[in-house]
Structure formats: structure tokens, C-alpha cells
Amino acid sequence: MKRTVPLMITALGGFVLIVAYFIPATQGWGEVAAIWFDILAAIAFVLGGGNLLKIHLKKASDRAPGWGYSVITVLAFLTTLSVGLGKIGVNPNPMYPGFPLSGDYREIGSPFWWLYEYAFKPLTATMFAMLAFYIASAAFRAFRAKNVEAVLLLGTAFIILLGRTFAGVYLTSWLPDSLFGLRIENMTITIMSVFNTAGNRAIMIGIALGIDPIWGRGRSDPCTNS
């Protein structure tokens, strides 16, 4: 029952969306299903928060390796949640001065704005920026021209890396117009719009064709075929 009912709801939702796509008269059904989905997505935020608390509180109470990070996660989560939900430090809206919580919680200078501007924003930007260092290190350690495929991959990577900067234009600008296509910036465009597009389309269509028979046989996971 625990498994059957959710599966039936999922199947019904999928069926309604497919029917609504192909039969204009049933378009409204699809919209209703989509609205249910949006409501569920909003509830998922609450579930996500609960799950985060459950996992990290357990890790902290068990003194599992890295439990200190879990404590920081829980504290950061609860602080942001209470500041945002409680609209702490929010000024009244100028149109409704009598209502103390009527202002915008993202207003410049508000505690929530402060958390976003000086904690969330620099932390997430730092995490992303660190990729540059790890990519450089990984490229040095792992990218070897061991066989023909690796040489092709390496050559393509060099063309794209140069073609996405002014170096591409500078290095091959001397080529005559008859060899226009061999200029690095044009080779980059050719690689992206011909080879990449063809490969991606093949993968997309292949996956779509592959998923249908797998699901049709009643397999639960089309990726692992389990």
C-alpha cells in the first residue's frame, strides 16, 4: 500500500500530463496537475528543512566524523529561518506605517539582507570560484594523451580553450580568407554547432528511445536497469 498508492498517483499524474499535451480539450487537466506539482514543490521546502535538521542533528548527537560542520549547518539554517520567517529587524512599509512587519525583508540593511550579502553570497561565490584551482590541478594530473581518443579530446579542448578567448583570434588571424574555417574561433563554432550538437542530439534521442521500452517492461530505474 505504501508503495502502490504513490505509484498510482505518479502514473495518473504522468498520464494526465501526456493526454493534456496531445488533446487540446483536456489542456485544463494538465494545468491542474501542474498546479498540484507547484503546491507539492512548496511543501518540499518544509520537508527539505526537516530532513536537513534530522540528518545533521543525528550526526551531531552521534559525534560522527565532521559533526562540528553539522552544528554550524544547523545553526546557520535556524538563524536564517528565524530571521526570514520572523521578519526580524524589518522596517514597516511606508504605505502601512502602523504595521511593524509590513516591510520588505530583503530591504538594504535588514538582517536578512545582511545574512545574504555577507554570508550566503561570498560563501557560494567562493565555492564556485575554487573550481578554477581544482580544474587546473586535475588537468595537470589526469589529462594524458594515452591513445587516439585522448589525443582527439585533448586537441578539441585546446581549440575550445583558445577559441573562447582573444588568443584564438590573435593566433590565426593571419590565415587568408580562403582558410577562414581554420581560424581557431571558427573551428570552435564548428565544434560546438556540428560535432557537439550532433552528439548531444544523438544522446537525447537515444535516451528517449531507450527509456520507453525499459519503462514499458516495468523496470523501476531506467538508468541502472534494476
Binding site: 499535451y21 489542456q27 494538465g30 494545468e31 501542474a34 498546479i35 506539482f37 507547484d38 514543490a41 512548496a42 518540499a44 521546502f45 520588505d104 530583503r106 545574504y116 550566503f120 553570497k121 561570498p122 557560494t124 561565490a125 565555492m127 564556485f128 570560484a129 578554477a132 584551482f133 580544474i135 587546473a136 590541478s137 588537468a139 595537470f140 594530473r141 589529462f143 594524458r144 594523451a145 585533448l154 579542448a157 585546446f158 580553450l161 583558445l162 573562447r164 578567448t165 582573444f166 588568443a167 583570434v169 574561433e185 563554432i189 560546438m192 554547432s193 557537439n196 550538437t197 548531444n200 542530439r201 537525447m204
Partner: protein, 291 residues
């Protein structure tokens, strides 16, 4: 030297990457000089899609990114908004990502409030904000925007916002512009908005570098214009500034071009590292064969 390179500590690589990025930032910041850009056809098509619109046409800007990719996407978001303001379009902002509204706030403060103060909120531009549901949101608003968006981001009822008159669904916009860092983003806009209504919804987009290859299959029918990463942003920025920037454009409208400097040196560093690593690999292989 050979032994040093063979066992190169990753901290040296980190230091080199730090210098490869920070030195160009410093030099470009000091001199203000940038590398020239030649717009590609995709950047031209994106520019033309907005350029073809008439004054007062409604344009929907969906900012689906967060601070992690702000460095890559904020310059193109700035250029999109400046272009729309210069064309005197009616701008409608929305977001599929929870921190999208903050990205919208930033761009409104940076472009509209500072350079187009005559534009009035609710009349010339509006922020209808974030709704959870990813592609579910797109699926609903392509046929009925007011089903989900009953108020704007500030809580003002949609019915009280003058520029919302006549806007009932995404099909009422002359153009949809999506700035995307992943899921939900451009792919979902293509699949759930453009594909079911190919004659009514036109989409152009700007995306991160890792996303761009996955979006090429939709070009040109479902996605006539695409700006890939900071390079695409720099090309589009050039087109906007050449036409609307005047003789001395504000540096905030040249951010993408400025960021091409660090990108150039970082890319060259990676190429040098890969070549170096392969030279060491072949020398080692030869030595092994001899012994």
C-alpha cells in the same frame, strides 16, 4: 628541475592559477583596457531579438541563477536589462530559483535605478518574483500566469499593477529572455514553453559555460539566440555598448569584456599545464621502455 615538475605540488598550481586570474584583474582594473571582441552569429541573433521589439512591447526576463554563478551571468543580465531599458520595453522580472529575486534586485539597482530613474515601478518594470516548482511553474504560466502569480514580489496584487493589464500568460510577451545557471533554466523554458507554443513564445537565453553545449541542439528553431558564458556576454555587451553606450560607457557595462582578460590567462595556463604534464608522461614512458 625535471624532478620538481614531475612531483609538482598542487599548491604551486593553485598559486599559478591565483596569479593568472588576479594579475589580469589588477592590470585591467588599472588601465581599463580590454581585449577586442568579435560577436558571433548567436550573439548577433540574441541582440537582434531584442532590437526588433518596439517601444512598449512586453519582455519577460527570468533570472534563474544564484550568487555561485553571478560572476559568469551578472554581466549578461546587466546588458539584457540595459538593452531593454534603452529600447523602452515593458520589463517583467521573474525567477525560478529561490535567490533569483536578489539577483533581480541587484540588476534593478545597478541599471534601472541608477541610469533610468525616470522608469516607474509597476508602469515600466515589475518584479513578479520567485515561485517554487521549477518546470511546474513554467507549465502553468504559459497558459495562465495569474493562477500562480496573484501578487508581485512586494505583495501588491497583480490587478493593481498597471503594466499587468493585458498580460495573462507567457504567450502575451513578445520575447522571453532567460539567464540560466542550470536546473530549472533554459532547457525547461525550451521544453515547457517554446515547444508547446512555437508560434507564440520566442526565447533567447544566456547560460553558464557548462550548460551551453547541452543547449546547442535547440538552436535555431526553439532557441534562436544563446550567449554562452562570459565570452557570449562580452560579445553581446559589445553590441549593446556600440549602439547605446555612447563615447564613454560606464565600466559596469563592460564587466564581461573585463573578465575576458583573466579567462584568457587562465585558459593559457591550463593548456601549458596539460602540455607540460604530457611531456613528463612521455619522458617517463621512454625511460620505462629503456629499463
Amino acid at each position: 628541475m625535471y624532478e620538481f615538475l614531475k612531483n609538482l605540488d598542487k599548491r604551486w598550481i593553485f598559486l599559478m592559477m591565483f596569479l593568472a586570474v588576479s594579475v589580469p584583474i589588477y592590470i585591467i582594473g588599472k588601465t581599463g583596457k580590454t581585449f577586442p571582441e568579435v560577436p558571433t552569429l548567436l550573439a548577433e541573433a540574441t541582440f537582434q531579438a531584442i532590437e526588433e521589439l518596439k517601444e512598449g512591447d512586453p519582455i519577460l526576463l527570468s533570472f534563474d541563477y544564484d550568487p555561485a554563478s553571478e560572476g559568469e551571468l551578472a554581466p549578461m543580465a546587466t546588458a539584457f536589462v540595459k538593452h531593454s531599458c534603452e529600447k523602452r520595453l515593458k520589463i517583467y522580472f521573474m525567477a525560478l530559483w529561490p535567490v533569483g529575486p536578489q539577483m533581480i534586485d541587484d540588476v534593478i539597482a545597478r541599471v534601472i535605478r541608477s541610469d533610468f530613474p525616470e522608469m516607474v515601478y509597476g508602469v515600466d518594470y515589475v518584479n513578479i518574483g520567485f515561485k517554487p516548482g521549477n518546470e511546474g511553474v513554467i507549465k502553468v504560466i504559459v497558459t495562465d500566469l495569474r493562477e500562480l502569480y496573484t501578487t508581485d514580489d512586494k505583495g501588491t496584487p497583480i490587478a493593481q499593477i498597471p503594466m499587468m493589464e493585458g498580460i495573462h500568460s507567457v504567450q502575451d510577451f513578445k520575447l522571453v529572455v532567460n539567464v540560466s545557471a542550470g536546473y530549472a533554466g533554459t532547457k525547461e523554458w525550451v521544453q515547457y514553453a517554446v515547444t508547446p507554443f512555437p508560434d507564440k513564445i520566442k526565447l533567447v537565453a544566456g547560460c553558464t559555460g557548462v550548460q551551453a553545449p547541452l543547449l546547442y541542439p535547440y538552436i535555431p528553431q526553439q532557441l534562436p539566440g544563446l550567449l554562452g558564458a562570459i565570452k557570449g556576454a562580452a560579445e553581446y555587451e559589445k553590441l549593446v555598448i556600440d549602439k547605446y553606450g555612447g563615447t564613454n560607457p560606464d565600466p559596469k557595462y563592460l564587466e564581461a569584456k573585463r573578465r575576458m582578460g583573466p579567462q584568457l590567462v587562465a585558459h593559457i595556463l591550463i593548456i601549458i599545464l596539460v602540455v607540460l604534464a604530457n611531456v613528463i608522461y612521455y619522458i617517463e614512458k621512454k625511460r620505462e621502455a629503456r629499463t
